[in-house]
């Protein structure tokens, strides 16, 4: 499957969802309506931290037009004492996130919800709900949250024997760092901070839920997993999964942020209570205040290197903000930080820290960019200290097949080395730089994931193909799956239609996340398609009255093979479909797999910056990503992933941050002042796709969606050093920060 003669795999086919999206016909989360539909609205906490003594909803309930009012009393409770795991989430935290229970834990935390015949009435009803708060001292930043006298968010969380905001730790060890550092010629230890950043999807969370009189719920919503929506809603409403049908809408971006629910369980309960379909749509402000960004962090990384360039020891300590409830991505930070390197002695330790801000959600390689930022900055410094090119240092220490990673696995064939080689020999590296311009590099790793996927491949009566899978298409999975199916069947791509099933029409499929979808659904669809081909061969054999083993499937035709070669005219897919009834009935096959072998992804990025030294503005003038993509089934989509990750990294590095006011409220809850990059901020983001096929996948697929966000933060920071001779240790490197550093530098001279 990995050869250059492929007809469809590796081709830039037209995306099946393209026409609908550019003509406005695509149905997103907020686009579905129903007769009798009413509007749900969330009342949110005005305080960063408060005990909820009581909630009086009576006035809201008696307002004409109000059909239902709910509080945490209506949401299924899970005791904080015992974990209830669902995927990577814990339902005891999820129930407290969708609706504050004992306490309001951040400004914007839902405390009640209403459903009314108009949005205006719903707004007015929210104002009539009386909540008796006992306002508590609050804490937002990590340093404040881990102080011994910090306000404690959860009395039931203990660390080292007493109540704490440290909710958990994770540690990886390999070799003995103490011994390793003794061997080093140069040791560099540095501390870093990063700010929480939002995924910044354009489409706010939205859903429509209709609960019928007999208690069956239908959910239309935009998410990264209709089965996740079904399971979480079931667990928060006590409606069995068999009575919930979750229908995925087209999704206007997720980047990990739509791997959990916010509105669906509330709309379900409101619909059940009111007997009416309930629609809920978050405003951008609600998205920014109350949906998950990724963690802010502080970290310290120490690395030891010998003069010959071999890294002998590495140690990293990471504190990550979880938001109001436990569950920051420390696994990504401590697991990915050192993963691109073959280092004999590694110690990585992570702390999960709660504070009074919205609960974090996954964001593209959760935790890994934070892990890599510190490590890749320190590698730049140790390289300089021994006078070796930072890419040469990476090449010398590159993890390869057989390397034992600190986070556990022994790598199979991986392509990290090739990404560094490609960067070293790329023309980008030779372009001369001007005044106040600089070039930086950094690398990154992401685990990638496999897991459960289902597929159904059906041959239509006219001999075309309908493929159904179970994950929302965020990164081009429909086009890619059509490429694979067309290749396997040897037919034109246009004859394959790929649909996303809902929870009632396709088997369980884990969510779109972990860069898993094309890896896993590609496997399931390959399995289904191969079953279909077996059936097609059997049918041809039956028609010809020969042994099925004596039939080949080639270019969309069954052909007699072996001793029978040339004895019969080949039978096309159309002809076999036409004769399906006489040869055994409908042609189709399903597969339900728990896939494994999604090996890690690696990337190296090279970035050129130019600094306006009077204003402190850093502009990205050139950017190239080098990534082992396994097999680019649809190269345009793969390039899009690489570019998208780089763009988000540029925002994270340079301008994005949550700004809190003196009351613990987010002061920039919108795209005007939460400064994500706009198109004109970016140069063409170049990509170099390196294809080292994953030996454990039929098409050689590796996940590609998340690695691209891992290297940019350090690549940009290292480039700024090259331009100015100033090393930054915190993000964002925004104009006021850069200008101040420049002035301090001048003052020091």
């Amino acid at each position: 499957m990995n050869d250059a003669n492929n007809k469809w795999i590796g081709k830039r086919t037209i995306r099946p969802d393209g026409a609908d999206k550019v003509t406005g016909q695509a149905t997103f989360g907020a686009d579905t309506t129903m007769p009798g539909m009413i509007w749900g609205k969330v009342l949110r906490s005005p305080h960063a931290h408060a005990n909820i003594r009581s909630i009086d909803t009576s006035k809201a309930e008696s307002l004409p037009g109000v059909k239902a009012v709910i509080t945490s009393a209506d949401v299924t409770n899970y005791s904080p004492e015992k974990s209830v795991i669902l995927g990577i989430q814990d339902m005891r935290w999820m129930t407290r996130n969708v609706m504050a229970r004992e306490k309001a834990l951040f400004h914007g935390h839902p405390v009640a919800a209403v459903a009314a015949t108009s949005q205006k009435i719903a707004d007015q009803a929210c104002k009539l709900i009386e909540v008796d708060y006992e306002v508590l001292p609050w804490v937002v930043e990590i340093d404040d949250a881990i102080k011994s006298d910090a306000p404690i968010l959860h009395e039931f969380i203990e660390f080292e024997g007493k109540p704490s905001n440290i909710a958990g730790t994770l540690e990886h060890k390999k070799g003995d760092v103490q011994t390793g550092f003794e061997e080093a010629d140069v040791i560099v230890e540095r501390s870093f901070t990063t700010r929480p950043v939002h995924q910044g999807y354009i489409e706010p969370h939205a859903c429509l839920v209709s609960v019928s009189a007999d208690g069956r719920a239908t959910i239309w919503s935009s998410s990264q997993g209709q089965f996740m929506v079904r399971a979480m809603t079931s667990m928060l409403t006590d409606i069995p999964q068999s009575s919930i049908r979750a229908i995925p809408a087209e999704i206007g971006g997720g980047f990990g942020g739509k791997t959990i629910v916010y509105l669906e369980p509330l709309a379900t309960i409101l619909s059940k209570k009111s007997g009416r379909p309930v629609k809920m749509v978050m405003s951008r402000e609600e998205v920014m205040r109350a949906s998950g960004p990724t963690s802010g962090s502080k970290s310290t990384v120490k690395m030891g290197i010998k003069k010959d360039g071999s890294i002998v020891a590495a140690q990293g300590t990471y504190y990550l903000q979880a938001g109001a409830l436990p569950g920051s991505p420390i696994r990504g930070a401590v697991g990915c930080a050192f993963a691109p390197y073959d280092i004999p002695n590694v110690h990585a330790l992570g702390y999960d820290v709660v504070s009074n801000r919205s609960k974090v959600a996954a964001y593209r390689a959760p935790g890994a960019p934070i892990g890599a930022f510190a490590v890749e900055c320190v590698i730049d410094e140790i390289s300089e200290a021994i006078g070796m090119d930072p890419l040469e240092v990476r090449l010398k220490n590159a993890a390869k097949e057989g390397t034992q990673a600190a986070h556990g696995p022994v790598y199979p064939r991986i392509g990290y080395y090739e990404t560094v080689e490609a960067a070293l020999s790329h023309p980008h590296r030779e372009i001369p730089l001007g005044k106040f311009q600089g070039r930086g590099v950094a690398s990154g790793f992401w685990f990638n994931a496999g897991g459960e996927s289902s597929s159904q491949v059906n041959i239509t009566e006219d001999g075309n193909v309908v493929v159904t899978t179970g994950h929302p298409d965020i990164g081009g999975s429909r086009a890619s799956i059509a490429n694979i199916t067309a290749e396997l069947l040897g037919i034109d791509y246009k004859r394959v239609s790929v649909l996303i099933g809902d929870t009632a029409t396709i088997g369980y499929s884990n969510l779109t996340g972990g860069s898993r979808v094309l890896f896993a659904s590609g496997m399931a669809v390959t399995d289904s398609t191969e079953k279909v081909i077996v059936s097609l061969k059997e049918r041809a054999a039956k028609i010809w009255d020969i042994d099925p083993e004596a039939v080949d499937w080639e270019d969309g035709y069954a052909r007699p093979a072996g001793a029978n070669a040339g004895m019969f005219d080949p039978l096309s897919l159309e002809e076999l479909a036409e004769r399906a009834t006489e040869t055994g009935g409908p042609i189709g096959a399903g597969s339900q797999l728990n896939t494994a072998g999604a090996e890690g992804g690696f990337a190296t990025h090279m970035c050129d910056v130019e600094v306006d030294i009077d204003l402190g503005i850093v502009r990205i003038i050139r950017y190239t990503s080098f990534q082992d993509v396994g097999r680019a089934v649809h190269p345009s989509y793969v390039e899009g992933q690489l570019q998208g990750g780089a763009a988000q990294g540029i925002g994270w590095a340079l301008n994005e941050e949550y700004i809190y006011d003196s009351e613990g409220r987010v002061d920039n809850p919108g795209f005007l002042d939460y400064r994500m990059p706009v198109c004109s901020d970016l140069p063409m983001l170049d990509t170099v796709m390196i294809e080292v096929p994953n030996p454990k996948h039929p098409q050689g697929v590796r996940g590609v969606g998340e690695v691209p966000l891992v290297p940019p933060l350090a690549a940009i920071r290292n480039a700024i050093y090259d331009a100015l001779g100033i090393r930054f240790y915190g993000l964002p490197m925004s104009p006021p920060v850069v200008l101040e550093a420049l002035e301090q530098g001048e003052a020091a001279e």
Binding site: L615, L672, V678, S680, D681, P735, E740
Partner: protein, 289 residues
Amino acid sequence: MSDIQYLAPTTLDEAVSAYSGAKGSARILAGGTDLLVQMRAGMINPSLIVDIKKIEEINTVRETEKGVFVVGASVSGMELAKNPNFGKTWPGVLEALNLIGSTQIQGRASLGGNLCNGSPAGDSVPALVAAKATLTVQGPNGRREIPVKEVPVGPGKTSLADNEIAVSFSFPSRPPGSGDAYLRMIPRTEMDIAVVGCGVNLTLEGDICTSACVGLGAVAPIVLEVEGAAELLIGSQLDEDTIEKTAEACRACCDPIDDKRGTISYRTKVSGVLLKRAVAIAAKRAKGV
């Protein structure tokens, strides 16, 4: 939850009569790019909206004699850009207006709306101040003309009475050898609000600056005219020493706030940087090079 009445009169008299009749609970809709956002955010709740886009005088650009322009208060940036001569005479004003928002916004947003919104960070205002433009307003008692620099009186507040409607801007004629420029600092390249904005308008006779005016935005509760800067520039050859002193004059008059968009020290420093750069562009334009 009151209903909103919407009127789109075709004459100024009708508009003034409806607007003044509402006694302060009405709002003028020019482009609506601030008004609608404020209404959606729940910041304002007008009982009457008077759309002035259908009133010819408010919505046209006239060159009354060569080089003398009267620009209707609700003329959009894109419309103003279509005028063959305005942008040649006042490139800084036109650039300032068309830095605002996206292409779609620029098809609606106007000088009058930007000024009457009263934001200290409005992009076109420092350029209008530097241009020494005047605003004609009409109320129940007739018309009056106000220098643009006297229109803003505080964040969100103007010197217009609550029964007066902005009609048009008059731009004075200038001798040959004049040029203007507007620059703003934003962390991004577009779709942002000025952290600092600086408008400069110069006239040169040979190498000598004979007339100058500087407007500074987002560094004080209102857009400022920096008179000290003009005094330094006039009579000079725009030499390095003069420019440095002028930048210092700009920094000295800054009275900004620390907020999510910028710090006091950053805004103050940047005002001097933008002054230098805007003077260089305006001078280049004045020399016709």
